[in-house]
């Protein structure tokens, strides 16, 4: 989606706020983070669905609202989509209707911490799938982006780069974001010359690396 979240290369945002050096400034930010981490189990939703919901926030709100408020807004969207809450409940914090508890068990603290420490499984067996591109091959990023959640930034679209590694067979973010995962695809690290992307203002020899799933690429 050509949304406001796709910020690479945009201009006009001013100096880096390097003194905003903390993770949390308010307790509610910690609670918003923790709510997303726990509700991911009981609703449930995955990281790509949560990212997609953040990307759907109106651009004006995306730019001015706090990072963790956007996490909370995205969680609200996912709860509404799942039919587990209504708008009035979200406003008041008070329950209007019950939900089928057995289908949405809350994650116990110990399970959550253990799973967080273990990490997620994001690769799949290749089972005979053959990668379309080889290391050192020139590839062009497909010029048109997908309307939904996708992980190819605008600033590389249509540009030619070089495959530097095949990372493996990964769950595909575009499919995961709409609950149609894992639909695995090969994913590659692709190197681009900075001047290819940014013109003569970039310094010769500077380069950019992006990790791109196979459907984003075509041979060049």
């Amino acid at each position: 989606m050509d949304g406001i979240h796709d910020m690479g290369g945009m201009q006009g945002f001013g100096r880096i706020p390097i003194n905003q050096d903390t993770v949390f400034d308010h307790n509610w930010q910690k609670r918003a983070f923790a709510l997303a981490e726990t509700l991911a189990w009981s609703v449930p939703f995955d990281a790509d669905q949560h990212r997609r919901a953040i990307e759907q926030i109106a651009p004006v709100d995306y730019l001015r609202r706090d990072y963790f408020e956007k996490w909370a807004i995205a969680v609200q969207t996912l709860l509404l989509d799942a039919g587990l809450v209504d708008e009035e409940e979200l406003r008041s914090g008070r329950v209007k209707f019950p939900i089928p508890q057995d289908e949405h068990p809350p994650v116990p603290a110990e399970t959550l911490v253990q799973a967080t420490r273990a990490g997620a499984q994001m690769t799949c067996p290749e089972t005979g799938s053959v990668p379309a591109f080889a290391v050192d091959q020139a590839v062009r990023v497909r010029p048109h982006g997908a309307a939904g959640h996708t992980r190819v930034p605008r600033y590389v679209r249509g540009h030619i780069g070089r495959v530097v590694s095949n990372l493996g067979f990964f769950q595909f973010a575009d499919a995961m974001a709409v609950g149609k995962g894992p639909a695995p695809q090969f994913c590659y690290t692709v190197e681009f010359e900075a001047r290819t992307l940014w013109g003569e203002d970039a310094q010769a020899d500077d380069t950019m690396f992006l990790d791109l799933w196979e459907p984003y690429l075509e041979s060049a």
């Binding site: 910020m7 690479g8 290369g9 945009m10 945002f13 100096r15 880096i16 706020p17 390097i18 003194n19 905003q20 050096d21 993770v23 308010h26 509610w28 609670r31 983070f33 923790a34 709510l35 726990t38 509700l39 009981s42 609703v43 990212r51 609202r65 706090d66 963790f68 408020e69 909370a72 807004i73 969680v75 609200q76 809450v85 409940e89 979200l90 008070r94 329950v95 019950p98 939900i99 949405h104 809350p106 116990p108 603290a109 959550l112 967080t116 420490r117 273990a118 990490g119 994001m122 930034p153 600033y155 990964f170 994913c187 690290t189 992307l197 940014w198 500077d206 950019m208 990790d211 791109l212």
Partner: protein, 196 residues
């Protein structure tokens, strides 16, 4: 930038989250103990000191450094640092010839097990938009001026790989203990927005 205690936007966000937490507990979707546990985990067990331990070991143990650059995931896991947003790690080495810097232009991807959760500036529109387009100007703002002959490599975390920068080893490293070396390593040094 200090936060204004009377900022209506901030107050609205706080109210939104409080109502959400009350509702989720009342609906039985969340165990409040799990909320406390996950915050405590990220405040106590995870943070840049984990990454600093990885870097200090790489500076003093050439065999480990080779492994770390070849298979970052396994070498980092061998020190006990694993988990969400660190399942697939790649470590990129700074040298006099090459300087690496990491970003996530699309959201806020960051190697949680080794660096903790990202600071606010890393998630800012300014950093995400500019570091890919004018990395040298951005690094100057952080106080890091690179020689023109040093190549800059920017890594945009667009898929499931998370990146960690291995900063250049300090010249006096042989005089320092492992603990002192780890203390030299800064979070920004491992993002690539500072030298160590």
């Amino acid at each position: 930038m200090p936060h204004d205690d009377h900022d209506p936007l901030e107050q609205g966000a706080a109210l939104r989250v409080r109502a959400l937490e009350e509702l989720m507990v009342a609906k039985g979707l969340v165990d409040p103990a799990a909320l406390d546990a996950i915050v405590e985990y990220y405040e106590r067990d995870v943070g840049p000191r984990n990454g600093a331990a990885v870097v200090a070991k790489a500076w003093t143990d050439p065999e480990y450094k080779g492994w770390l650059l070849r298979d970052g995931t396994a070498a980092i896991a061998s020190l006990g640092f694993t988990g969400f947003q660190g399942e697939h790690m790649r470590v990129v080495e700074n040298t006099p010839d090459v300087h690496n810097v990491i970003v996530c232009t699309l959201c806020s991807c960051y190697p949680w097990p080794v660096l903790g959760l990202p600071p606010t500036w890393y998630k800012s529109a300014a950093y995400r938009s500019r570091v890919v387009r004018e990395p040298r100007v951005v690094l100057e703002e952080f106080g890091l001026t690179l020689p023109e002959e040093t190549r800059v490599q920017v890594w945009d975390s667009t898929a499931e790989i998370r990146y960690l920068v291995l900063p250049q080893r300090p010249s006096d490293w042989q005089e320092l203990s492992a603990e002192d070396l780890a203390e030299r390593v800064t979070r920004n040094g491992m993002i690539g927005t500072a030298a160590v």
